[in-house]
């Protein structure tokens, strides 16, 4: 096909010339016949008529006719769709929801898994990991600062290396904490990435030297929120954890850092960690793992060259950074470590590991929903095609080609799916933002760039076309396969042709039932697994507990006075009206932090390959009373337990079972040989408490030991107060703020309820349960609509037959049976296929479940039961109509 624009002008000129030559020849002939030459030309023109018009009409023959007929089809399709507003609305809504949900989940998947970082040549970026021979294939991607400095100063393998570490900084100077998403970045971080400032300058290596003064680079969003996008931000000072840094520049709007799932607000050089953490600085710590490293590969350098370079580099670096206090075998394996690279153009992400499976699961769920919606629309279209068969027969007999008619029907369905996609994109925009809010918690605010990129757009256009074809093809072929005579005369409508058409409608509904069942089973599994988690007894009572995290880093209290400060604080908190009981510990449940140590039990040998690891926490005496963790034996801590008395410990059931099986643990002793916080002397077990969850509800119970704060050799600068309240916990926040503020203005505070902290660990499960619940319900609704539509159609088709049966004496109930028998067969088939498919598919989700098997019979029965109930209800209405057919009317109708 020639493009009309290229040849258009040329053709017009040619046509003009052709017509001119015609006129000249005509005139010459007339002259030859004896007409005077001036008259000859005039009469030739007269004979031709309007030359311009002739030219135009002739030119019209070359127009792009298929485009025009396509436009005709579109307009005709739109008219047909408008003529059946109910069907069109139902179809459009289910498509919008289906395509919208697919687009939303895909854009999330795209943003988490596929999208390249908005930096220069992201494809050159690799993440650097370490692998020791012993560790399996999993590479360790977290580094100590000494390793990073060695790498930075001695590597000659890459075009550049960069390092960073995410860290929350507190903007407030004492009082309630105001945390921002911060990051320690290496001096060349922005340069290696190729990120340019929109304002001021970004860091370079001279900003990141030992004993540096520190500078701050702002993220664009933070600059807008906190500085009103004022240029005067540059040169001002920003307070981070009580230390002041000069702001030097702002990064571009689309740059969020190198961690997908979060967006940095403030970046300061790695060297500034010494300013923030003071004498506890990690910069020279050889076993503090907190830095992540990426590198930019040299263009054109082969993989072998990179690997060879790293192989030379690794032994030197690890020899120079060997942790001196490690055991010999650990040191040996440390020295044998190697570097490995993995492509990192899409950035690194904690969210990726956590949400990859759930997102894939959701993708499958929404794809199923879309399939069900397609099946629904296909059966609606089939029913409508039956209504149109007379029109189609007329068109066929007038000489329309079948392909032309199929094209027309397909145009109509693609028109519908395109409209659905358009609505769906709006829905996706809203839904995507909602999803991100869903996975965000109070502690970790998730940021994802969900803007439409080419990939998402392509995906949406693709599925819109695909769905249009999917639900259009069968009706298109069916509709145009009509027996002309019977369709036009209307005789024999109840004959074979309609029956077979109904058959395909029936198959579609059976398929729909099967697909819905798979979805419902998934919904059941996720919802029940979520309920298992929510109703699980975590070993403490999460209701009505306020957690107050304090940090005295900037409170000008000497470390020796921390414990005294904590005592005073606890006394004041207990005095607040509404607080029934209060305690303090180091790491509150579900805070995600942990403290563990190897222990030694007198006379016990640890089995080879097993570490005698026990998890610990320090607490104040009322801890178990406040959290309502039952004491099973012995006593809790009290005033007896001081820095100078016998070191004591309370253990949980798992600890007792593991290290003192079949004995009374009370009165037994163990030691923590390497402890820096607890006493190195033997600890006497004085109490036994019920097991409780520590980091997440899904974990198995840890062997656990509790140590009294009074016997901790050096209390840390941060701790958590637990307040059990007789009122809504959040209402006490002002009183707590005042009480602690009066004690010391410099201590920073953070508030959270224990219930919220537990809830936040369930973000992933809640996401799956809520969304699969929503989509399961949607599938159920769509299936009901589909079934209702098909059964209504069947009853209409069989009105004549039913009329005859009733005239011959059939009872209404037997008519009902007649209709419902169809439904029963269809349901039996759909449910059977669905059960088999669900059992097969369910294995894939086992990993995401808690407290039940993927092949849980109860869930399966529940899903099948509710599906059958809804399906029967949906088909009961048309069946009742069949029962009430008036035989006289039905027979006259012919």
């Amino acid at each position: 096909m020639k493009l009309p624009w290229d040849t258009r002008d040329k053709r017009k000129q040619d046509l003009d010339e052709e017509i001119q030559s015609h006129l000249q020849m005509s005139a010459r002939d007339r002259e030859a016949r004896g007409e005077p030459s001036d008259q000859a030309a005039a009469s030739a023109r007269r004979e031709l008529g309007n030359a311009g018009l002739v030219r135009d009409v002739t030119h019209d023959q070359w127009r792009w006719t298929w485009l025009e007929s396509l436009w005709q089809d579109v307009r005709f399709g739109a008219r047909l769709l408008r003529k059946t507003p109910v069907i069109t609305t139902v179809a459009l809504l289910s498509l919008a929801l289906g395509i919208g949900a697919n687009t939303a989940i895909f854009s999330l998947l795209d943003s988490v898994m596929l999208r390249m970082l908005p930096v220069q040549k992201p494809e050159q970026l690799v993440a650097l990991g370490m692998r020791s021979q012993k560790q399996g294939s999993e590479a360790n991607r977290v580094y100590t600062n000494p390793i990073w400095e060695q790498l930075r100063d001695h590597q000659n393998v890459f075009a550049g290396v960069l390092a960073w570490s995410g860290h929350d900084f507190n903007l407030a100077n004492g009082g309630e904490a105001q945390n921002v998403n911060g990051m320690y970045a290496s001096g060349e971080y922005f340069n290696v990435l190729g990120v340019r400032p929109v304002l001021g300058r970004l860091m370079n290596s001279s900003d990141d030297t030992r004993a540096c003064g520190g500078v701050a680079v702002l993220g664009y969003g933070f600059w807008q929120r906190h500085y009103g996008a004022a240029a005067s931000a540059i040169g001002s000072q920003i307070q981070l954890d009580g230390h002041s840094f000069p702001v030097i520049g702002v990064t571009p709007p689309n740059f969020f850092g190198t961690d997908v799932g979060s967006r940095f607000d403030v970046a300061i050089p790695i060297c500034a960690e010494a300013i923030i953490d003071g004498k506890n600085s990690y910069l020279d710590e050889r076993s503090a793992w907190w830095i992540r490293v990426m590198a930019r590969e040299r263009p054109g350098q082969s993989r072998e060259q990179t690997e060879a370079g790293l192989a030379v580099l690794a032994p030197q670096i690890f020899a120079a950074t060997l942790p001196p206090d490690w055991k010999p075998d650990q040191q040996h394996s440390y020295l044998k470590r190697t570097f490995v690279t993995t492509p990192a153009g899409t950035g690194l992400s904690w969210i990726r590991g956590q949400y990859e499976r759930p997102l894939e699961m959701l993708m499958v769920i929404v794809a199923l929903v879309l399939l069900i919606a397609c099946a629904n629309i296909a059966s609606l279209f089939l029913a409508r095609a039956a209504a149109r068969q007379k029109e189609i027969a007329v068109r066929l007999s007038l000489g329309a080609s079948r392909t032309r008619l199929i094209r027309q029907v397909l145009t109509e369905s693609i028109l519908l799916s395109a409209a659905g996609a358009l609505l769906g994109v709006l829905f996706a925009k809203w839904g995507g933002a909602l999803l991100v809010r869903f996975v965000s918690t109070k502690q970790t605010h998730v940021f994802l760039d969900l803007s439409m990129d080419k990939r998402v757009l392509g995906f949406t256009v693709g599925i819109a076309l695909l769905t249009g074809l999917l639900f259009g093809v069968l009706p298109a072929f069916r509709a145009t396969r009509v027996s002309l005579t019977s369709a036009i005369t209307g005789v024999e409508v109840q004959g074979d042709a309609t029956r077979s058409r109904f058959h395909s409608g029936r198959w579609i509904v059976a398929l729909q039932v099967a697909l819905s069942l798979i979805l419902l089973v998934g919904t059941g599994l996720f919802v029940r697994s979520f309920r298992n988690l929510v109703t699980l007894d975590p070993g403490f009572d999460r209701q009505n507990v306020l957690l107050v995290t304090t940090n005295v880093h900037n409170a000008t209290i000497p470390p020796s006075a921390y414990v005294a400060f904590y005592d005073q604080a606890l006394t004041r908190l207990k005095a607040i009206p509404g607080v029934t009981s209060a305690s303090q510990d180091w790491m509150a449940p579900m805070s995600g932090m942990e403290w563990n140590e190897d222990i030694e039990v007198e006379g016990q040998k640890t089995p080879a390959g097993e570490e005698p690891l026990v998890w610990f926490n320090w607490i104040t005496p009322d801890y178990f009373a406040t959290l309502r963790t039952p004491l099973l034996a012995g006593r809790t801590f009290d005033a007896r337990d001081s820095a100078n008395s016998q070191p004591v410990v309370i253990v949980n059931e798992t600890m007792a079972r593991k290290y003192f099986p079949k004995q009374n643990p009370i009165g037994q002793y163990f030691r923590i040989p390497d402890s820096t916080l607890a006493s190195k002397k033997p600890l006497q077990i004085v109490g036994l408490v019920k097991d409780s969850k520590y980091e997440s509800l899904r974990e198995d119970y840890f062997p656990f030991g509790y140590i009294p704060l009074a016997q901790i050799s050096q209390a840390p600068e941060s701790g958590v107060f637990e307040l059990r309240t007789s009122v809504t916990p959040a209402t006490l926040i002002p009183a707590v703020r005042d009480a602690l503020g009066n004690l010391n203005k410099g201590a920073s505070l953070k508030f959270e309820t224990l219930a919220q902290a537990v809830d936040d660990t369930l973000a992933q499960e809640r996401l799956l349960a809520t969304l699969s619940g929503f989509f399961g319900g949607l599938a159920l609704l769509l299936t009901a609509i589909g079934l209702y539509g098909v059964m209504t159609y069947v009853v209409t088709q069989r009105t004549h037959e039913i009329g005859i049966r009733m005239a011959l004496g059939a009872q209404p109930l037997s008519i009902m049976k007649l209709v419902m028998r169809d439904v029963a067969a269809l349901l039996a088939f759909g449910v059977g296929a669905g059960v088999i498919a669900s059992v097969w598919v369910a294995r894939l989700v086992q990993q995401l479940l808690f407290g039940l098997k993927a092949t849980d019979a109860e869930t399966l029965a529940l899903a099948a039961g509710s599906l059958v109930a809804i399906a029967l209800l949906a088909s009961y209405l048309p069946a009742r109509r069949a029962m009430r057919v008036d035989p006289i009317k039905a027979l006259r109708y012919e």
Partner: protein, 119 residues
């Protein structure tokens, strides 16, 4: 005005196409020549309207039933000359058959007596 021309094209379409193809069977010809030839071979009965002829020619060209090229006539004038393509020849054969059937049928309808007499 435009509408009128289009209607006329529609009405004449099948027949005019057939006449053009038939005329080109005797050799390449330009538009004016085709019009003359049709008029002459119909004994001046059929006057080909130029407003229908050129659209028909271009339509046939687009359907690749005829091909066109610019040539210099004996009067030393640039003229667009059409000739029958292979597809055009095939089309002509089938259209002639169809025409024969139609005209036979129409004759039959117009002349029922003659048919009965023959029977």
């Amino acid at each position: 005005m435009k509408k009128r021309y289009q209607n006329r094209i529609e009405l004449l379409q099948g027949t005019l196409d057939l006449l053009v193809l038939q005329t080109l069977r005797w050799g390449p010809q330009h538009g004016y020549g085709i019009a003359l030839a049709i008029r002459a071979s119909s004994g001046d009965v059929l006057q080909v309207d130029t407003g229908s002829l050129y659209p028909a020619l271009h339509r046939l060209e687009r359907q690749k039933l005829i091909a066109a090229e610019w040539k210099i006539s004996e009067n030393n004038q640039r003229v667009r000359v059409y000739r029958l393509s292979a597809a055009g020849k095939k089309k002509l054969a089938s259209e002639r058959g169809r025409w024969a059937k139609i005209s036979e049928a129409i004759t039959g309808i117009l002349n029922p007596a003659a048919q009965e007499n023959e029977a």
